[in-house]
């Protein structure tokens, strides 16, 4: 596929944020990106005109009932067949922050056996509790499966910002170890929170900012085309978006967030 033929849909509803930053990130890399209201997409029913679907961050529908659940259920009721076709064709879906919560509530992540009718995990209240808006370090754990991190070597440490109050990824207590084994065995672990030098966060704040199980910050589905993460790559597109960029001893053009967007573009244009 040629770069100029790629079309990205950034889906928004009331309460969505960072849709403009997501559009900016893709467009900076030469990819046509449209911000589409869900009601518009339901009217047009043209999801399959797009090659990539993105659920940006925010507080969709005011986080009513539970973060992400109303967006997820609204979408499955109104566009379930189109979403299923999109996934069946292996087209990529990215969920950032609230987008990750939406993918989990939809049953798309972890999605061990395809779309689950009930959520298989939760992104719940941070531990320690509170809204955390800070930069974190992440270790890339994925070997090769996730299409959104294909340009990132396994083991690389990257730096992205988080901004959430409910980002603690948990699985049913009785299944935790079994789920972790599957995530590792099936190469679905993508990012784990870590310290600046890449050491394990060991579940401890501040390296693990929300108490996520096994320090997990992002996972993909078994096929690798659906990816959700709590940190915001679109807020780390440029080098100067880092809070301490003037105190660093190098000045680059882009920040680590670019790697996520570049990875999927490379995949679609077959550069990796």
């Amino acid at each position: 596929m040629k770069l100029e033929d790629i079309k990205v849909c950034a889906l928004r509803v009331g309460g969505t944020n960072c849709d403009a930053e997501t559009q900016r990130a893709f467009q900076e890399l030469g990819v046509h990106t449209e911000i589409i209201q869900v009601s518009e997409l339901i009217k047009r029913r043209n999801l399959l005109d797009y090659n990539v679907l993105v659920f940006p961050g925010g507080f969709s529908y005011g986080d009513y009932v539970r973060s992400g659940v109303i967006f997820a259920r609204h979408l499955s009721a109104q566009l379930g067949k189109e979403i299923q076709s999109f996934i069946d064709e292996g087209r990529p879906i990215l969920g950032i922050c609230n987008g990750f919560q939406i993918l989990v509530e939809y049953g798309l992540l972890p999605g061990f056996e395809g779309i689950s009718p009930v959520p298989e995990a939760t992104l719940t209240t941070n531990e320690p509790a509170g809204f955390k808006c800070k930069w974190v370090y992440l270790k890339h754990e994925n070997q090769s499966k996730c299409v959104f991190t294909s340009a990132i070597p396994q083991g690389k440490i990257i730096r992205l910002p988080i901004a959430h109050g409910e980002g603690r990824l948990l699985f049913p207590k009785e299944k935790e170890e079994e789920v972790l084994k599957r995530l590792i065995d099936e190469d679905m672990l993508v990012f784990r929170y870590c310290t600046k030098d890449g050491s394990s966060a060991e579940g401890l704040y501040p390296a693990n900012p929300n108490g996520s199980f096994h320090d997990i910050a992002g996972i993909c589905n078994p096929e690798g085309n659906i990816f959700g993460l709590m940190p915001h790559p679109e807020r780390a597109l440029y080098w100067w978006q880092q809070p301490d960029w003037t105190r660093q001893n190098q000045m680059l053009q882009y920040g680590d967030g670019k790697l996520i967007f570049q990875s999927i573009i490379n995949k679609l244009t077959k550069k990796c």
Binding site: V65, R66, V69, P117, P119, T125, P172
Partner: protein
């Protein structure tokens, strides 16, 4: 028949409950000897159905599809007739 269904969703034991902990601290400050405070959400759904069993079945579906996440939530359902 018309029914009112009260669906109460609460956190499973062991899950973080900062609202309850903060409330308990204040109650203690106010002089009450409080062991713990649990917080839950109550949704009252008004609907029409032929039987109580039908209402309960629908309410169970609503909980699974929307109101509760099985990883962290427990829920109870109470059905009452209304005029």
């Amino acid at each position: 028949m018309k029914y009112a269904v009260k669906i109460e969703v609460s956190l499973k034991p062991g899950h973080s409950n900062p609202e309850g902990e903060t409330t308990m601290q204040l109650l203690t400050e106010l002089g009450y000897n409080v062991e713990a405070v649990d917080v839950s959400k109550v949704y009252t759904v008004f609907l029409e159905a032929s039987t109580v069993v039908e209402v309960e079945t629908k309410a169970q579906e609503m909980c699974k599809r929307l109101f509760a996440n099985p990883t962290k939530d427990n829920y109870t359902i109470n059905v009452a007739e209304r005029k």
